[in-house]
Symmetry: C2
Subunit: 332 residues, 2 copies
């Protein structure tokens, strides 16, 4: 493992993206997202994603000079056409307008279309919570998850993210796949020879298995059986038809499989407890959190990320990952 | 079992509520909700609830003459103070305004407070879908579910309901507890001597058990482990602090335990795919549904209810339930 400071991580991401064809604004937005993931201990959304970003620039699938312009469809619905670029710049430009609308009207939504999302979802909902808003977001992807009861992939891993503001403190944030396990985790278990819990997925024979190798040849399952499957389906609808974008299977059909992110949609919701609820909304929610924290065995979601964030020192980065990045961006 | 026509079911519900002190508007709204549940095969939300409704009127906990008046806080946020009555009349009055706002602005929310919810959630989201809107709603209750990792009840069964409009067809609708199993189902399993799946709940010793008797002395668990628990927590926040109402544990603290529904909050969200998405939103969603329906072993949520609804004939009703109702409302 190599050791890189957060600034070195940012520079590596930024410079390699620039070299592969992204302009300053897009490279900076993606590099910031990647650096924040490394900072918060989410290696799977950090530099690990850079090779995919670079490949999708080099193949011409993604527009590295995208100039997304958010527009109000109504006072409370903002649409951002991603201009075939990456999501981070579009989100950076659109979230202030979303937050402003939600603070004024109590509720607002942002639809991001024609965009390539390849990052964690928590940054955007956390940004909303920093405006004292409740945030919710979801994206679909390409089919890797079978609906409960079935054995054919139809849903993406379809993550949802949720954030609740805690004035004066780090917000409560979670971001989770509606698949039983994220695909990257199954890949890591397969690489390391570990088994996975029964219910994670089906082998190529359509039967439950604890062998991650078999699941990679078969299909993942939603978390939580039929109920989780119903939520994965809701994500398909919200990130697809609701916002005028594709379902996971349609995304797959039009994708250039270059290792980078496909084009799809994203739905974001911002709600103001200040406008909608009563004045004691924050204190009331803290009453729930303190009861949760007092319970043995229970953790508030997102706490680990905020703890790791306090460490401003270096991060360990996989050597072969660095080699992969330098192969794709030789002058970095 | 007795056999009652849907009209007899309505009259039994309406007259018993009237006799226990509800006025015409409230009795009619509750009786309609109860009759629709019986019609759709959801006995646990049908006449089965009437004894609890009657007890809460007779104890004076619920205001049977509530006159809820929805008001716009902003053009897209409607608040309805329930006036300490049952939810159905408040919802009946507020949903048209919610639908109108969502159709005009693309997204809108309704907060229902100081209300007693004792019915299924699907009627309100289905009503939104009939306006060609996507609907989402949730309520909390009293603590019966432990957060994942814990063994003390903190969350209610905290159902969420979701509906997607299908122009020209019955909407897609689901309504599910975020508990692994609804409490009524555990009670029925205990009564009938059946075991329940491991993961449904913990016994009084805090250990997993398949014995529903033990779970009723212990605590239910959320569906889907930590992920389901995160969703149950989201419901606590949405139906509580977000709308200016109590968390499940606060609801319990102020409740009069008379067998009827406690006072709490409800959050409803309505979103227009017509405003937000593109013109082909309906056809695109049908593409997903037809793929789901074509998969062996997969069912679209809500289909069973809509099939049962087509039968306009009589429904079987438990004799001892009828006796209970007639004991509480002797002149019926």
């Amino acid at each position: 493992m190599a050791t890189l400071t957060l600034d070195e991580i940012y520079q590596l991401a930024y410079q390699s993206l620039r070299q592969a064809g992204a302009d300053d604004a897009n490279a900076a937005a993606v590099a910031t997202t990647v650096t924040h993931a490394e900072r918060d201990g989410s290696a799977s959304h950090g530099l690990f994603r850079i090779p995919g970003y670079l490949k999708s620039l080099l193949s011409g699938k993604v527009n590295g000079n995208a100039d997304p312009q958010p527009e109000h469809i109504t006072p409370v619905v903002i649409r951002c056409h991603g201009n075939n670029g990456y999501a981070p710049l579009a989100l950076q430009r659109a979230i202030p307008a979303l937050a402003e609308a939600a603070k004024t009207y109590g509720i607002a939504a942002l639809t991001l279309t024609h965009s390539h999302h390849f990052a964690a979802l928590w940054p955007e909902v956390e940004a909303l919570a920093e405006h004292d808003l409740m945030g919710f977001s979801c994206v679909s992807y390409k089919p890797v998850v079978a609906p409960a009861g079935g054995n054919e992939a139809l849903f993406g891993t379809n993550p949802i993210a949720f954030a609740w503001p805690r004035p004066g403190r780090s917000p409560l944030v979670y971001d989770m796949a509606t698949a039983a396990m994220a695909q990257g985790e199954v890949q890591i278990a397969a690489r390391d020879g570990h088994s996975v819990p029964l219910g994670t997925g089906l082998g190529p024979d359509g039967e439950l298995t604890t062998d991650p190798q078999d699941i990679l040849k078969g299909v993942l399952l939603p978390f939580g059986g039929h109920k989780g499957s119903a939520i994965a389906m809701m994500v398909e609808l919200m990130a697809g038809p609701l916002v005028g974008e594709s379902l996971s299977f349609e995304t797959d059909e039009r994708d250039t499989p270059d290792g980078g992110p496909p084009q799809g949609g994203q739905f974001l919701l911002a709600v103001s407890p200040q406008v909608m609820g009563e004045t004691d909304w924050a204190a009331r929610a803290e009453g729930l959190f303190s009861r949760l924290e007092a319970m043995e065995g229970v953790r508030l979601p997102g706490q680990r990320r905020h703890t790791l964030r306090k460490d401003t020192g270096s991060r360990a980065v996989n050597d072969s990952l660095l080699a992969d990045i330098r192969q794709l961006a030789p002058q970095v």
